[in-house]
C-alpha cells in the first residue's frame, strides 16, 4: 500500500482500513504476528491479512466478518487520530480544486494539525509535487512527520516546526498554492505572497468566524491579491429508504372513493417502487439526515498574478 499508489495485496507494514459497517471503520498498521480486536472477534495479521487482496472479506475469530480496505486520504480522514479539529472531505475537495492542485504542484500549508488535508494534498500532487507544511506545535509536527513516514509519503512532504505568522513557510517564490488554517491568517498573508512563485499562484484561507474572514480579505487586498472570493460549502447526506404512508379513509359514497383504487393500480403498474397494499402507499425516498453539519468554516480564495 501507499497513500499515493494502489496495490492489490496487503503487505507487512501497510496501513489498512478495517470496515465493520457504515460509520464504523478504523485504521490499523499491519504487522507480522500482530492481532486486532473487533466486536466480531480477533483478526490475526499474519494469517488473515498479509498476502490477501485489499477488498477481501476477513472472518474474525468469533465468526463475524469485516472488509479490509485500501487506505485513501478520504478513509484516513474519517479514521485518523485527532490531535486537533480537522478538515473533512467536503471542504478538502473544494480547496484542492480551487487551488488548482495537480501532479507536480508545489504547495505550502499551515498548520499541519492532524494531517487530514495534508494527505489529500500529497495524494493530488504526487509523484512530482512537494508539500511544505508548517506546524508551530512541536509534538504535532513530530507526530505528523512520523505518520508521513509510516504512510510512505515522506518523500513528498517537508514538515517545519515554526510559527508561520512570524517566520513564514521557510521557502520563497516556489509555491503554486498556499493554504492557511490558523487562528490569525491575516498575519501570514504577506509570507504567503512571498512563498508563491513570481509568476503567481492561488491562496486559500479557512476560518470559522466571519471576523477572521474580514481581516484576512483586507490583508489579501493590501498584498495585491486579486479575485478574492469567499465560499461556504455544506454537505447534505440523504438516507435512502422505503417509506409507506397510510391512505386516508374518506368513507364511502363519494366519487373519490371510486377513483382512489384505480389511481393506485395505475401507480403500481407505472412505478415499480410503489408496491401498494390495501390502505397504504409506498415510495422510495432520499430523506435528509435528522442532523447535519451546519457550518465548518468559510473558505476564502484569491489569486496572485505575476508582478
Amino acid at each position: 500500500m501507499s497513500f499515493v499508489e494502489y496495490r492489490d495485496v496487503i503487505q507487512n507494514g501497510d496501513t489498512a482500513i478495517v470496515f465493520l459497517g457504515h460509520d464504523s471503520m478504523f485504521a490499523i498498521k499491519v504487522q507480522q504476528g500482530g492481532a486486532t480486536q473487533t466486536k466480531y472477534g480477533a483478526i490475526k495479521h499474519s494469517i488473515d491479512l498479509i498476502g490477501k487482496k485489499y477488498g477481501s472479506k476477513v472472518t474474525c475469530s468469533k465468526g463475524g466478518w469485516v472488509y479490509i480496505l485500501h487506505p485513501t486520504p478520504e478513509l484516513w480522514t474519517v479514521t485518523l487520530p485527532h490531535r486537533t479539529q480537522i478538515l473533512y472531505s467536503t471542504d478538502i475537495s473544494m480547496i484542492i480544486m480551487m487551488l488548482e492542485l495537480k501532479p507536480g504542484s508545489i504547495v505550502c500549508e499551515s498548520g499541519t494539525g492532524s494531517g487530514s488535508l495534508s494527505h489529500a494534498i500529497i495524494r493530488t500532487i504526487a509523484p512530482t509535487g512537494q508539500l511544505y507544511t508548517v506546524e508551530f506545535h512541536k509534538q504535532r509536527a513530530e507526530k505528523a512527520e512520523e505518520e508521513f513516514c509510516d504512510h510512505k509519503i515522506d518523500h513528498l512532504v517537508t514538515v517545519k516546526n515554526q510559527d508561520v505568522c512570524k517566520e513564514g513557510f521557510g521557502v520563497v517564490n516556489v509555491a503554486d498554492a498556499v493554504f492557511l488554517d490558523i487562528p490569525s491568517p491575516w498575519e501570514a498573508v504577506k509570507y504567503s505572497k512571498s512563498a508563491l512563485k513570481m509568476e503567481g499562484g492561488r491562496i486559500c484561507s479557512f476560518s470559522p468566524c466571519i471576523e477572521q474572514v474580514q481581516r484576512t480579505c483586507l490583508a489579501m487586498t493590501e498584498q495585491d491579491f486579486m479575485d478574492i472570493s469567499t465560499f461556504e460549502i455544506l454537505l447534505r447526506v440523504y438516507d435512502v429508504r422505503t417509506v409507506s404512508l397510510q391512505l386516508p379513509d374518506l368513507g364511502t359514497g363519494g366519487t373519490n372513493s371510486q377513483d382512489t383504487p384505480a389511481d393506485l393500480k395505475n401507480q403500481s403498474k407505472e412505478n415499480s417502487w410503489s408496491d401498494s397494499q390495501q390502505g397504504t402507499t409506498q415510495f422510495k425516498s432520499g430523506a435528509p439526515l435528522r442532523e447535519m453539519a451546519g457550518h465548518t468554516g468559510y473558505l476564502t480564495f484569491a489569486t496572485k498574478y505575476l508582478s
Binding site: V4, E5, Y6, F19, G21, H22, D23, Y40, K53, Y54, G55, S56, K57, G64, W65, Y67, L69, T72, E74, S89, T90, I92, S93, M94, I96, M97, M98, E100, K102, P103, G104, R123, T124, P127, T128, H155, E199, G200, V213, Q214, C217, L218, D224, I228, S229, T230, F231, E232, I233, L234, R236, V237, Y238, V240, R241, K284, S285, G286, Y298, L306
Partner: protein, 487 residues
C-alpha cells in the same frame, strides 16, 4: 517510487511554460466571466460585446492583463491601474434628499458615445460620468463606491489571459452552458474527483456526456501518469471541453475511448470474436458519416457546421464557448480526406478500440466516474464489473431519484460498501468592510452524487443472494435495515 505512465517532469526554470504561444489553448477573463479560445494571430475574437485580436498576447506571460484599445488591439497593462480618484471626500449621510428624476446624469447617451469615439480610455469616461452626475456628491461613501464599480465594469475593459484549469473550465461551463454538462456545478465536480480518489498512476473509467469536462478534470489529476478509458454513447466521443485544457500530447498516449453499446459484448466475451463484424460496422459508420443522421453525434456535428458557417460569413456572438471549433475542423477535414486516408484512419480507430477493450478487460480499474444524461443504474451495474476491489466509484446525476434506484440495485447486487447519497450546497459571500453578507443569489442545485467502495464479491454467496435478496453484504447494514423497516 514506482510509477507507470509517461509522465513528464514540468519544465523548470526557463519559464517557457508561462509564456503564451501561438496555438495555445487559453482562457480569457473579464471580471467574473470566462471564455476559452485558441490563440491564433489574425483571428477576431468576440467576448463580452467587444471584439479584438489576440496577436499581442503571443509572447506575453500568463496572468497578464490587457486593455482593449481601438481597432481591437490588446495593450498589456503596465502597472496596476491608478484608482479613479474619488477627488472629493464629500459624501452624503443618507438618501433622504436624493430624488430619482432621471436627470442626475448631465451627459446624454450621444455624449458618451462621442467620448468613446474619441478613443478615450475607460477610466476617463468613468471620471466624466462622475463629474457630470449631480447626485454623486450627495451619495454615501458606500454608494459612491458602488457607482464607480458599476461604471468601471461597463467602460473599463480589462482582459486577463489565463491557463485553463479544472477550476476555470468548470466555473465557465457552469455559468455559460450548464445544459451541456448536465448542470454539474463546480463544487460537485470537486467532490467527485476527491471521492473517486483520482490521482497520478490510476486506471480510471469515465463514462460522461459532459462535453468532456469531467474527462478533462480526471486527466488533469492524473497528470499524464496512468490511464483513462472514456465511455461514450453513440458513435463518437464528444470532448470539446477536454480539448480546451490544452493538455500536452503525452497525456493522450493513455487516453482510450470505448462505445457504451459494445459493453455487453465485451462482458459476455463475444467482443473479441466480433472483430470482423465490428470492422464492418465502423466502415458503415465512416461511409455514412456525411449522410443520414444516424446518431446524436452526427446531429450535433451538423449543428456545429452551421455554426461554423455563420462564423465564417460574419462574426456571431452565439458562439460563446469557442471550444467546438477544433472538433468541427476535424470533421470538415475528415470529409476532405481521400479514401486511403480514410481507410488508415479506420484501421487506427480499430486498433484504438482493441486497445481500449484490452484495458477494460483487465477488470482492474482503480476507479469509476459516471456523469451522463443517461439513466445511470444499468450503466453503473455493468461498469462496476471492470473495477478492482477496494476502489471508490462515483455516480453523478442531475436528479436524485435515479440515484435512489442505483442505491437499491447496488444493495441487491452486493460487492459494494460505504454507499452514500449526497449533495453539496455552495454559498458565496460578499466580504467588504461593514457590508459583509451572503451573496444575494446562489445556485439552486448542482446535482447529486452517489458514492461507494467496491469489495470482493462472494461467488457462492451471490448465488445464495438470488434466492434471498434481502441478505446484505454489510454487517452493520443489517441493523440499519431493521431500523428502516420499523420507521
Amino acid at each position: 517510487m514506482m510509477m507507470s505512465g509517461p509522465g513528464e517532469l514540468p519544465a523548470v526554470g526557463n519559464g517557457a511554460q508561462y509564456t503564451v504561444s501561438e496555438g495555445d489553448h487559453v482562457v480569457l477573463k473579464r471580471e467574473e466571466v470566462f471564455k476559452a479560445v485558441q490563440v491564433q494571430s489574425g483571428r477576431k475574437i468576440t467576448f463580452e460585446k467587444q471584439w479584438f485580436y489576440l496577436d499581442n498576447v503571443i509572447g506575453q506571460q500568463y496572468g497578464t492583463t490587457f486593455e482593449v484599445s481601438t481597432g481591437g488591439v490588446l495593450q498589456p497593462l503596465k502597472a496596476k491601474t491608478e484608482e479613479v480618484a474619488k477627488e472629493t471626500n464629500e459624501a452624503g449621510i443618507d438618501n433622504r434628499n436624493i430624488i430619482d428624476d432621471g436627470k442626475s446624469q448631465k451627459l446624454s447617451r450621444d455624449d458618451i458615445e462621442a467620448l468613446k469615439g474619441q478613443g478615450l480610455k475607460g477610466q476617463d469616461i468613468v471620471q466624466h460620468l462622475i463629474e457630470n452626475s449631480t447626485t454623486f456628491r450627495d451619495k454615501t461613501g458606500f454608494a459612491q463606491e458602488k457607482y464607480i464599480k458599476k461604471k468601471k465594469k461597463k467602460y473599463e475593459a480589462f482582459i486577463t489571459i489565463l491557463k485553463p484549469t479544472t477550476r476555470i473550465m468548470a466555473m465557465m461551463y457552469h455559468s455559460r452552458e450548464p445544459g451541456k454538462i448536465c448542470y454539474l456545478r463546480y463544487d460537485t465536480l470537486a467532490q467527485m474527483l476527491t471521492l473517486g480518489n483520482i490521482h497520478a498512476g490510476s486506471k480510471v473509467i469515465v463514462a460522461e456526456t459532459c462535453a468532456g469536462l469531467v474527462l478533462g478534470a480526471v486527466m488533469e489529476r492524473l497528470g499524464g501518469f496512468g490511464s483513462v478509458v472514456h465511455l461514450y454513447p453513440g458513435s463518437l466521443p464528444i470532448r470539446a471541453a477536454m480539448e480546451n485544457f490544452g493538455f500536452p500530447k503525452s497525456f493522450y498516449n493513455h487516453l482510450y475511448d470505448f462505445p457504451i453499446n459494445k459493453l455487453n459484448s465485451l462482458l459476455s466475451g463475444s467482443f473479441s470474436t466480433e472483430k470482423e463484424t465490428l470492422q464492418k460496422q465502423t466502415e458503415v459508420v465512416v461511409e455514412e458519416g456525411n449522410g443520414s443522421p444516424l446518431s446524436t453525434e452526427q446531429v450535433v456535428a451538423s449543428c456545429g457546421e452551421t455554426l461554423m458557417e455563420n462564423i465564417q460569413s460574419e462574426e456571431t456572438e452565439a458562439m460563446d464557448v469557442a471550444c467546438e471549433d477544433a472538433e468541427n475542423k476535424e470533421i470538415n477535414a475528415g470529409k476532405k480526406t481521400n479514401v486511403e486516408e480514410r481507410k488508415s484512419k479506420q484501421e487506427d480507430r480499430m486498433k484504438k478500440l482493441q486497445a481500449a477493450a484490452a484495458v477494460l478487460q483487465g477488470r482492474n480499474a482503480d476507479g469509476l466516474i459516471i456523469a451522463s444524461r443517461l439513466y445511470p443504474s444499468p450503466l453503473l451495474l455493468c461498469l462496476l464489473e471492470f473495477v478492482a476491489p477496494s476502489r471508490p466509484f462515483v455516480i453523478y446525476c442531475q436528479y436524485k431519484e435515479p440515484l435512489l434506484v442505483c442505491y437499491s440495485n447496488l444493495r441487491e447486487r452486493g460487492g459494494v460498501v460505504n454507499l452514500r447519497l449526497s449533495e453539496t450546497w455552495l454559498r458565496g459571500y460578499q466580504v467588504l468592510p461593514n457590508r459583509t453578507h451572503p451573496k444575494l443569489t446562489m445556485s439552486g442545485g448542482g446535482g447529486y452524487v452517489l458514492t461507494g467502495i467496491t469489495v470482493a464479491m462472494n461467488k457462492a454467496k451471490s448465488i445464495a443472494n438470488n434466492s434471498k435478496p434481502q441478505r446484505l453484504e454489510e454487517p452493520a447494514a443489517k441493523r440499519q435495515k431493521v431500523e428502516e423497516s420499523k420507521s
